[in-house]
């Protein structure tokens, strides 16, 4: 793709983003995606890059509370915004209800889809504290998992939201 036309010299710019409540000032080019910046510049590798195409959902973070695919979000668009990643879910040693429920229900196998799943679910439960199964599926249709077959993930959401008397299956 090396073109004959003169390439514009695009300068980096400074953006300020807050990640899990911590402010970061970073230098980025417009072409840098949020997932690259989180993983490389800020060093938080919990957010995964599964497809770079905006399909698998492994890169899901919350941008000002909204579930967002970091692989197709430009970092420059996040200037002044608040990003929540999986690293911010626990309070010290205390897991959030959904993290604990994932452990209790066997909803984690290889774990690669897990960060994205947890972020999508965190946003769902913020908006809807007792989602029905169809609502859970709608919220997670953009988070692919190849290991679990999804049943345990649904059970984890139900446990975390105190529904249907779903008890932990793991101790």
């Amino acid at each position: 793709m090396s073109g004959a036309a003169a390439k514009p010299r695009i300068r980096s710019r400074i953006i300020e983003i807050s990640v899990n409540g911590e402010r970061h000032e970073i230098s980025v080019k417009p072409r840098h995606t949020l997932v690259e910046v989180l993983r490389e510049n800020i060093g938080l590798t919990g957010t995964k890059d599964g497809c770079e195409q905006g399909v698998c959902g492994a890169c899901t973070v919350l941008l000002d509370g909204h579930p967002t695919l970091a692989c197709i979000t430009l970092a420059v668009e996040c200037d002044g915004k608040e990003v929540s990643t999986v690293e911010g879910l626990a309070r010290g040693q205390v897991f959030s209800a959904i993290q604990q429920a994932f452990l209790d229900q066997g909803a984690v196998q290889c774990g690669f889809c897990t960060p994205g799943m947890l972020m999508s679910i965190t946003a769902l439960l913020e908006k809807n504290s007792k989602p029905t199964v169809p609502e859970i599926k709608k919220a997670l249709e953009g988070n692919l998992c190849r290991c679990t077959g999804y049943n345990a993930i649904v059970a984890a959401v139900q446990q975390a939201s105190g529904q249907d008397d779903v008890k932990p299956v793991m101790q």
């Binding site: 080019k29 072409r31 690259e36 197709i72 420059v76 999508s120 709608k138 953009g142």
Partner: protein
Amino acid sequence: MIDFDFDHERPGTLAEAAKLLDRHGSGGRIMAGGTDLLPNMRVNILQPTTLISLSEIKAEAPKRDAAGTIRIDALTRLAAIADSALIKKNLPLLAESARVVGSNQIREMGTLGGNLCQETRCLYLNQRHDYQFVAPCFKRGGTCCYPFPQNKPDTCWSVYMSDVAPALIALDAEIETVGKSGVRRIAIVDLFTGSGLTPLSLDHDEIVSAVIVPPQPKDAGFGYHKSARRGGLEFAMAVMAARLRIAADRKTCTDVRIAIGAVRERPVRLLAAERVLAGAALDDASIAAAVTAALEELKPLPHHGFTKSYIVDNVRVYLRRVLKSAGGDKSGGVDLA
């Protein structure tokens, strides 16, 4: 990763954005949610020199005036449309169509205007061409067409796949645009050229600013179905929307609108099918005749691994169910949520 550099500007108003588009010429490109644009940039279908981001511009909430006309800002996120009480109540067809777009994340990021202005798609097009399909196709400015080698350079059969457009056609919606010459309105069907090469009729400096939906006929019924292999995430094999009203005599159809998307270079209003039903009684026979007329008038393109014959078979069944649903029969399982 995007492997080329580009500039990025964030104007405060649409008018400013239009000016920037004009100034940057063919190298300038609007970005709203970016859910269509960025994946296309990643595979080098589009290589703008300057992205003009609309993210500083706040979308106004959908509003309904005294006459019942509803105005929806083009920058409204699809999730907000799907969840809007106003839209669910007055335009359930639009709410449903927004609800089935992509995934939850795509709906949270993507906008109404962006969805309508999406690029057409084709399996051969939507890939990086590092080692597959290396010679660019017509749509990429090259000299061939991979899926239809007999096509001439002016013919590209990539399909337009918006889930929302057919619903807006069925609702008689208009598009408002802002450009260097000012504001204009067009019927939604006029947004589309029918050419896979340049699917939209907008001037380069024009930006879709709003969708305006007229008040719907009283007691109108709606039907909608997105045919897809999986229950979510993907684009449609075919997406159908219909509106009709049964007159006071309890049998005659009026205000019939039938539209289908994802099967041609633009969403198609099925006029011949509408004519079959307009003024006729709605029953199994008239519905079947309308579906037959629709399939005769529409020549669906095979796309994304689906054959033409199966698309026809699928549409034949679901269009029937959609029309029945619009007529009040909810048994076909194509109810609006």
